[in-house]
Each structure stands twice: as C-alpha cells, then as structure tokens.
C-alpha cells in the first residue's frame, strides 16, 4: 500500500466579493512510495501551496480524498515549511522551535541544526530582529526538529545565498537519510529539484494537474552538472510538453 495517496478531483475558491468561482486544482492524482523524496514544479499561481495545505490538513474544503497511512499514532503526520516563515513574533527563535517540536524535542539537535544554518548566535533573538532569510532558516530548522511521517516544504530555500542554500540542502538530505520519511518539496529551481529528488511532478497551469512524472534513479553523488544537462536534454525530447520548465 502507498503511504500517501492524493486524489483531488476539484478544488474551488469562491471569493466573497464576486460570485466568480475559481478552480485551482482539477483531477490531480499521485501516489507516493515509502520515503520518496518528491519535488513539485509548476508555474506561479498554479496551486502548489493549495495542494500542500490540503495535504497538511489545513484545508479540507475540496472534492476528493487524501490518504496518509499512519504507522504510529503518536507521531505528527506532517511538518510544514510554509512559503513565508510564519514564526511567532513574540517568541524567540529557540522558543518557536521548541513549541513546534513539542515534548520529544532534543535541545542539542535543535542547536546543532541552527548552527549548521548559520544561526548559532541568534537562538534567543526575536524574529523581528532577524533578516527575512534568517527567518526562513528558522522555519526550516523548526520543520527539521519535528519528527513526522511527511515533510512538506514550500520553496524553502529561496532568498538564501548560494552557500547557505547548499548547506541547507545537505542538512535536508542528511536528515532524510537518518530519519527516512516522505518529502514533498515545492521549488521553481529545476537544478535544485534534479539535485534532491527521487521523483519530480510537473504541474500544469491552474486548474492544475500532473502533466509529467519524472523518476530520477541515479544516486545523488553522481548527479554532476554534466549529468543534469544530459538528463534535461533527454527529457525535453521525451516529454516536449514540459519544455517551458526546462
């Protein structure tokens, strides 16, 4: 059985002001394998955040179903790096993370994560005193500190400088190896997706659905820039309709 099965028939938004109904998602279906690292790529405004919100259980107002297999009832089913940091401004960095991590948090782990992300000196700062990039990193550290079956990440590494982003990616892969889980990773950066993912789902413009489902089987260390160029070229030949993303 697949640990996560997503089958959204239709997700509509009605704006209060007008009676216009906007269909953000239509017939979007996929199944994830155990501990698969899946990237999602799609044009801005196609419905990626909407999809993640539905999977996280924040939005139940859609036609269709989302099934997540529970192995351990006490475990959080998902943790979520939102597209904006969403930190509690009245709590320090450390408090923000501990609140989310709950009782089974380990302070050394949190400190270690923060240090890897370059926030070793800011553990007791309030979010308002951090730059936006730093706030995003706190949000990443928060998600990493929570043990969950599924990690949802909505463009987590934008507005980080390349070297910090690189460290963050390494940290993510390490975490994933040590505590395997399903990861759904939204990004606009194809290279990032190629570097990280087992599988990439390409979404269409809204009403969005999956237009290409690409597996990347080569082990990550072998994914050199050259390999990626080749892979891209093959893909644009085999799947010409996703040319716009390549």
């Amino acid at each position: 059985m697949h640990p996560i099965v997503v089958d959204i028939k239709k997700k509509n938004f009605t704006s209060n002001s007008s009676d216009r109904i906007f269909t953000a998602i239509e017939n979007l279906k996929f199944e994830l394998l155990e501990n698969e690292f899946t990237c999602i790529i799609g044009p801005s405004g196609c419905g990626k955040t909407t999809l993640l919100n539905a999977i996280a259980g924040l939005d139940n107002d859609f036609d269709g179903s989302i099934n997540i297999k529970k192995t351990n009832p006490s475990e959080l089913h998902s943790s979520y790096v939102f597209q904006t940091p969403r930190l509690l401004p009245w709590r320090t960095v450390m408090e923000n993370i501990q609140l989310a991590a709950g009782d089974n948090h380990s302070v050394p782990f949190i400190i270690n994560t923060l240090q890897h992300l370059g926030l070793g000196n800011n553990m007791n700062s309030y979010p308002h005193h951090l730059s936006l990039g730093m706030q995003r990193r706190v949000a990443i550290a928060r998600a990493f500190s929570v043990q969950s079956r599924l990690l949802l990440m909505d463009e987590p590494f934008v507005s980080l400088d390349p070297s910090t982003a690189k460290k963050a990616r390494e940290l993510l892969l390490n975490l994933w190896r040590e505590q395997p889980r399903n990861i759904l990773f939204v990004t606009h950066d194809l290279n990032e997706a190629f570097e990280l993912a087992d599988r990439i789902l390409f979404l269409s413009d809204s009403p969005s659905h999956v237009i290409a489902d690409v597996q990347i089987t080569s082990p990550r260390p072998e994914r050199t820039p050259q390999f990626l160029d080749n892979f891209k070229n093959q893909l644009s030949i085999k799947q010409p309709h996703i040319h716009q993303f390549l």
Partner: protein
C-alpha cells in the same frame, strides 16, 4: 535617565493640569468647582480620620474581585464568539441586550434576587462590565492572524499551546484596552451599586456628599481613587506592556 525624564514629564503634566484646574475654579468661583488646594486639604482630613481609607479599601476589594471575574469570563466568551460564527449569530442579540440593559435594572434585580449582600453587588458589577469585555475581545478574535493559526494547527500545538502562545499574544492589545477602560468603567458602576444598596464604600460616601452638595469631598475621594489607579498603571500595566511588547 529614562526614569528621571519620565518623572519630570509627569510632574510637568500634572502641574499643568493643576494650574488649569486652579484657573477654572477661580473663573467659575462656585462651590461646584472647588480649588485644588481645598480638595487636597479635604483629602488630607479624610485620610486622617481613617474614614476614606476604610471606604477605599472596601471599594478596591469589590473592584478587584469583579474586575478579574469580568475579564476572565469576558475574554473566554469573547474568544469563543469571535471564532465560532454560528454561536455568535445565536448569542449576538443576547449580547446586545445585555450591553444595553440600564445598570439600574441589573443592579435592582441582583439585589432583589440575592438580597443586599456582597455577592449581589459584585454580581451586578460583573454583569454590567462583562458584555463590554466580550464585545472588545470578540472584535480581536475576529481579526486573528490566520497564517499563524494554521501554523499552530500544522504543528499540532493543541488547544492550550495555541491559546497561550498564538492567540493570547495577538489579543493582548484588546485585552489591555478592555482592562484600561474596564477599571474605570467598573469603578463607575461600583459607585452606583454602592449607592443603591451598600452601607459602605466610595459610592456610598460620594452620594452622601452629593446630597450635601459637598463637591470638595467628592473630588477628594475621586483623587484618592485616581491615585490608586495611577499606581496600578505604573506598577503593573506599564511594566506588563514593556515586558510583553519586548519583541517589537
């Protein structure tokens, strides 16, 4: 430094107020607006006779009890109504009725129901203040930041953590607005409650003075109460403001 300058500031501000008061009382020249000096000497006498402190103490006790009851109940109910649309539409008209029943009516009913006892007095005050707290907090609860609440939901904060760490800090300005206007409102209601059915307290005394048209004494009693409120403000509310707003 900060402290010294703020002390200087408030001395200046109070000084200016006293000067205006003195001028006004000179210009109006009526026992209805006694001069600050007269009021202060009356205050002094009232303190010496121990009468003022007795009544002030009793009123403050009533004030504290009903204040905390009204704030806690009001915040809870306001939050629930603000977050649950259906409950709110159901109880909205109750709230409007409760808000607009004259204090007189609730006070009489409480006294008649429970007798002229302390409980009745305090209940009457709470009933009068409660809807105001509810309305203010409800407005705040309607305007909570949804992204943060979603975050709390995604990370399974649970009720208690969400309340303490996500919701209450956002309600803080509404709670403070409610508390600040609330102390004043409760004090005003207590004045009427004590007039109508107690044999002690500031309201009882002030109304006796009113019958004698002894405005100087009324003002002396008022001043003593305002000093207390000013103390609460500087010793409790201001530091609380500072502490909770530290993150800004």
């Amino acid at each position: 430094m900060m402290l010294r300058s703020s002390l200087f500031n408030s001395t200046l501000s109070l000084g200016l107020l006293l000067v205006i008061w003195q001028l006004a009382s000179l210009s109006i020249n009526s026992p209805a607006l006694p001069s600050p000096i007269l009021v202060l000497s009356t205050l002094n006498q009232a303190i010496q006779s121990a009468e003022l402190l007795h009544h002030l103490g009793i009123t403050l006790l009533r004030l504290a009890t009903s204040f905390f009851l009204a704030m806690i109940l009001g915040t809870a109910i306001g939050l629930i109504l603000g977050r649950h649309h259906k409950l709110n539409t159901f109880f909205d008209s109750w709230l409007i009725i409760l808000l607009n029943i004259p204090a007189l009516v609730t006070i009489i009913l409480c006294y008649i129901w429970f007798g002229l006892i302390e409980t009745a007095a305090i209940l009457a005050v709470v009933i009068n203040k409660l809807p105001n707290v509810i309305v203010t907090i409800r407005e705040g609860a309607r305007n909570l930041d949804d992204p943060l609440i979603e975050m709390a939901k995604a990370y399974h904060f649970g009720r208690y953590k969400t309340l303490v760490h996500v919701i209450l800090p956002q309600l803080y300005p509404y709670i403070m607005a409610s508390a600040r206007t609330g102390l004043a409102l409760i004090w005003k209601i207590i004045l009427v409650v004590e007039m109508l059915g107690r044999s002690d307290g500031m309201g009882y005394q002030i109304h006796l003075f009113f019958q004698l048209f002894d405005i100087a004494s009324i003002m002396a009693y008022t001043v003593s109460f305002i000093v207390i409120i000013q103390l609460i403000e500087t010793a409790l509310l201001k530091p609380l403001d500072k502490k909770t707003q530290r993150w800004k």
